[in-house]
């Protein structure tokens, strides 16, 4: 695993770790932002079908410049392509895939994740903010496995993994695993379990940057 010189994982590393954990044949929805990188990191020999909630199963790579189609976009309203074997459908069918538990993995960005897997990723709750939720609440309520890709702390250094979310919630007890620039952390019934640390990160250092107790769950045999 490559890492930046400070021993932390890059966004691409985080995406590669998340892609590694997605099983062959999975149907996956990628959120806007860092999660979009996961599509470029699927290991060779694995087949993963990407879903976008605006009505496409089988999202392909970005189009070559000049061949963008305004009627073929993803949930971030960016131009995409469709793979051979793709399917288009209307919004109620698309969200039946999400809410009916048919999708295997949802990869989302986050503002905060709590020790019990509560997710806050849609609103700062500030009075003059324009509230906008999109499909986030549907994804966390319906997809079988919900994983988060995010920086471990805010730009000002505050933990984003917290005892209780201070921002408005997207869902309660919904996150299964968190990938950050510092670690891979599972949300379990026993608490937050650190499974892997970036090369330059110690457990003590990770705990200091995390707003809730961590259990050292590294596999020391490797």
């Amino acid at each position: 695993m490559t890492a930046t010189t400070n021993g932390e994982w890059t966004r691409h590393d985080m995406a590669r770790l998340a892609a590694r954990d997605i099983h062959d044949g999975a149907y996956v929805n990628l959120g806007i932002g860092i999660p979009e990188l996961v599509a470029q990191c699927v290991p060779a020999g694995q087949e993963v079908i990407f879903h976008t909630e605006n009505g496409l199963l089988g999202v392909g790579p970005s189009p070559v410049p000049g061949s963008e189609d305004p009627e073929l976009i993803n949930a971030g309203k960016k131009p995409v392509t469709a793979i051979s074997g793709a399917a288009y459908f209307h919004h109620a069918d698309s969200f039946a895939m999400i809410r009916g538990g048919h999708l295997d993995v949802s990869v989302l960005g986050a503002m905060q994740v709590s020790a019990t897997g509560d997710l806050a990723n849609w609103s700062t709750g500030e009075p003059d903010a324009i509230p906008a939720v999109g499909g986030a609440m549907d994804l966390v309520a319906g997809v079988k496995r919900v994983v988060v890709l995010m920086e471990h702390t805010t730009k000002s250094g505050d933990p984003k993994i917290v005892a209780r979310c201070s921002y408005p919630l997207t869902g309660i007890r919904v996150v299964d695993r968190i990938y950050t620039n510092l670690a891979v952390i599972d949300v379990t019934a026993e608490g937050l379990v650190a499974r892997e640390l970036a090369p330059g990160v110690t457990f003590e250092n990770l705990q200091a940057k995390t707003g809730a107790p961590l259990i050292d769950g590294r596999d020391h045999r490797s």
């Binding site: 305004p70 009627e71 969200f95 509230p131 906008a132 939720v133 499909g135 609440m137």
Partner: protein, 236 residues
């Protein structure tokens, strides 16, 4: 003889009056019926409730309808985006109401409305601000909130092809809310790129059966919203 093909966008929206509820298809510009929306701007009717996933961009299409002061309330899931200028301004000034709905709940409310289902239960938004004040019931140990089916007086939708029966086929991800909005509106008005003869759409490939469609207008070369926004165009 059944013939749902109308002459013009203006004629198709002529009976949309003050206070009407209008579903408007599209996800961003994909599937947004820009010519029908502009015809509604031309009519100048006010106090509309608009149900649409977004609030438009720049000052054309849905954003022009809002900027023109014709919309009293928006029901949508994502009222801001890169080029949405008009809605945030009016919302902050308290001049437009917003009912924010999770996107899947919005789609299912529309589908349910069209299918004659007055309400349903969903796990989406349980325990969040958007679930507050809603009836909660537990099924098999999990909590769900009750959401109501949504209907509207009119729907404005864009599709790719139609025949005189109103059967529709769409293009790629421009399909999005079109089929369910046609179902949920008392009068569904659809602009299409091309009108074809009956049978011109393979019955196996009809996405919206004509029973859900009341009026069709052919707009062979629809304007592209993002290009108009890039050029800084303002409608009217």
């Amino acid at each position: 003889m059944i013939n749902k093909i109308g002459v013009s966008a203006a004629e198709a929206v002529a009976d949309i009056g003050d206070g009407a509820s209008v579903m408007i298809g599209g996800f961003g510009e994909a599937g947004s019926p820009i010519e029908l929306i502009h015809a509604l701007v031309d009519r100048g009717v006010r106090n509309l409730t608009v149900i649409s996933n977004n609030t438009g961009s720049g000052r054309v299409g849905l954003a022009a309808l809002i900027a023109n002061g014709q919309v009293a309330k928006m029901i949508c899931s994502y009222p801001r985006s890169a080029n949405s200028l008009v809605f945030p301004e009016l919302y902050r000034a308290g001049k437009i109401a917003l009912e924010l709905v999770p996107q899947g709940t919005l789609a299912e409310r529309i589908r349910a409305g069209g299918a004659g289902i007055p309400a349903f239960y969903t796990a989406t938004a349980v325990g969040t601000q958007l679930g507050e004040g809603k009836e909660v019931r537990s099924f098999a140990g999990r909590d769900y909130v009750m959401e109501r089916g949504l209907r509207a007086d009119f729907a404005l939708v864009r599709a790719d092809r139609a025949d005189r029966y109103g059967n529709l086929a769409y293009t790629k991800t421009a399909r999005n809310f079109g089929p369910i909005m046609c179902m949920a509106a008392r009068t569904a008005i659809v602009q299409v790129r091309q009108v074809v003869e009956p049978g011109g759409i393979d019955p196996e490939a009809v996405v919206t059966p004509g029973i859900f469609v009341q009026r069709v207008v052919e707009v062979a070369s629809p304007q592209q919203e993002s290009l108009l926004v890039k050029e800084g165009r303002v409608y009217p």
